[in-house]
Every structure is written in C-alpha cells, then in structure tokens.
C-alpha cells in the first residue's frame, strides 16, 4: 500500500469536501492512511494541513481568536469580514477563546496568517525591547 504524504492526504480531503464527493468514508480513509504509515500521532497536523489547503484555495479560514472578554455578535461579524478580506477566503470559521491574560485587544491566528493586537503582546514587546 502506498504511503501518502500528509500534504497529499490533506489535498485529497479538501478535494472530497469541495467537489461534492461522498464524504462518508473520508474520515475512515484518512485514518487508514495514517495508521498504515505509522503516523497516528500526526492527526492534529493533518487537520492543520487541511485547514492550510482550504485557506490557500480561498475557501475557508479557521480563525482562532483570543480575547480578554467574549466578543459580542457585532464584533464577531466585523472580525469575520476583516479576516475574509485579509486572508482572501470565502468563509471564516471563528473559534473564540477567552483569556484574561491578554488584558485587552484581540489575537487572530489562521493557518496562513496571524494578527496579534492584544495588550499582552505590546507589553511583551516592550519587555523584550528593554
């Protein structure tokens, strides 16, 4: 059985998802390929590669948002809009996480982009500079 690279498997998964093919066996096929090549522990990396491919193809950006407080609907919508524009994707999947350590502002990370406009980041930058 051929061993596929993680990138090949991610590309295969994105093709199945975007070309209207049967997605019922997709998880099973991916799991079989990873087990066959002894890379069971790299499932997380495979999912990250799939996110990367989706974003690179301009389809979907999974954005991990970290803020000191929960975001109201208005700001979430505004943020999605901005991420779409900046990442050049059709859709955005926001995964919001509240972290008081950030003090204020927001941090956004996608597969290909990263923005950190938190107060924590600014303080860390000052600390490193000093």
């Amino acid at each position: 059985m051929t061993n596929y690279s993680r990138r090949q498997l991610a590309s295969y998964a994105v093709n199945v998802l975007t070309e209207g093919l049967d997605t019922g066996k997709l998880p099973t096929n991916l799991a079989a390929a990873m087990i066959n090549s002894g890379r069971q522990k790299e499932v997380g990396l495979l999912l990250a590669d799939i996110d990367q491919q989706l974003e690179d193809r301009g389809l979907l950006a999974r954005a991990h948002v970290t803020a000191a407080h929960s975001l109201p609907e208005r700001l979430s919508t505004e943020l999605e809009k901005q991420i779409k524009a900046q990442a050049g994707v059709k859709a955005v999947d926001l995964v919001v996480q509240v972290d008081k350590e950030q003090l204020g502002g927001v941090k956004v990370e996608t597969a290909s982009h990263s923005w950190d406009n938190t107060i924590r980041k600014r303080l860390d930058t000052i600390r490193e500079a000093v």
Partner: protein, 180 residues
Amino acid sequence: MINVPIHFAEAESSASGIGAFNINLKAFAFQLATFVIVLLILKKWVFPKLSATIEARRQTLEESLEKAKQTEEALASAEKKAGEIIQSARDQADRSMAEATAQAKDIIAKAELAADAQAARLIAEAEERLGQEKLRLYEDLKGELAELVILTTEKVLSEKIDERRDRRLVESAIKELVHD
C-alpha cells in the same frame, strides 16, 4: 818548683850578666823547651782541629747569615707578592662590587618597570571589570525596573480595562487588521 826561691837565691849570689836578673838558665831552658814542645803539640794536633772547628763554625755562621739573608729577601719578596696579591684582590673585589652594584641597580630598575607594568595592567583589568560590573548592574537594574513597570502596567490595565473598554480596543484592533 819548690826550690825556685833557692835558685833565685843562687842567682842572687852570682850578680853578673843574666844572673843579675836572678834567672836560672837551666830552668828557663827547660821551661822554654817545655813551652816549645807544648806549642808544637798544640800546633800539630790541637790548633788544626781547633782552627778547623772555628772555620767550620765560621762557615756555618756565614751560611746561616746567608740563609737568613736569603730568607729575609724571600720574606720581603713574599711580602711584596702578598701585597700585590692583596692589592689585586682588592682591585678585583672593587670591580666585582662595582659590577654587582650596577647589576643590582639594573635588576631593581627592571623590576620597578615590570612592577609598574604589572600594576598598570592590574588597574586596567580592575577598571574593565568594574566597568563590566557597572554595566551589568545597570542592565539588571534597567531590566528589573522595566519588569516592575510592566507588571504595574499590567496590574493597572487589568483593573482599568473593563469589557466596555475592551470592546473599543477590539474594534480598534479589527481596524488595524486592514492596515496590516
């Protein structure tokens, strides 16, 4: 000899010639002969030996005097040589002392130069270490001060930034995404 006065008496009786001196010719002749015999004996056997002994003693004395003279001369020569040797030794000692003094001065001068260089090097090293230590302390102090300021800022911000203010910050951050 006991009868000499008798002979004088007899001579006194013959008042002419030698007899006027009351000399007994026989006795005189006998005494003269005896004297001559004794003289001959002495001359034959005693005087030569005595003369030889005296001569030997004289020669011995002369030899002794000569030896004494030679000894005296040798002593004088030895004293002269000793004086020369002592003078030479003194000169040599003076030269050695002068050389030793010069060498000691040279060594002291070199040691002083080396000590000065060593002291200068130690001072320079100490100054460098002091400067490094000062810089390190300055950096530590600056870092600690900055850390203190940052911690204080964090504390103040955590108290001052409520949800309402944070929303404004988020709005500003979203707008900044456009510029990034």
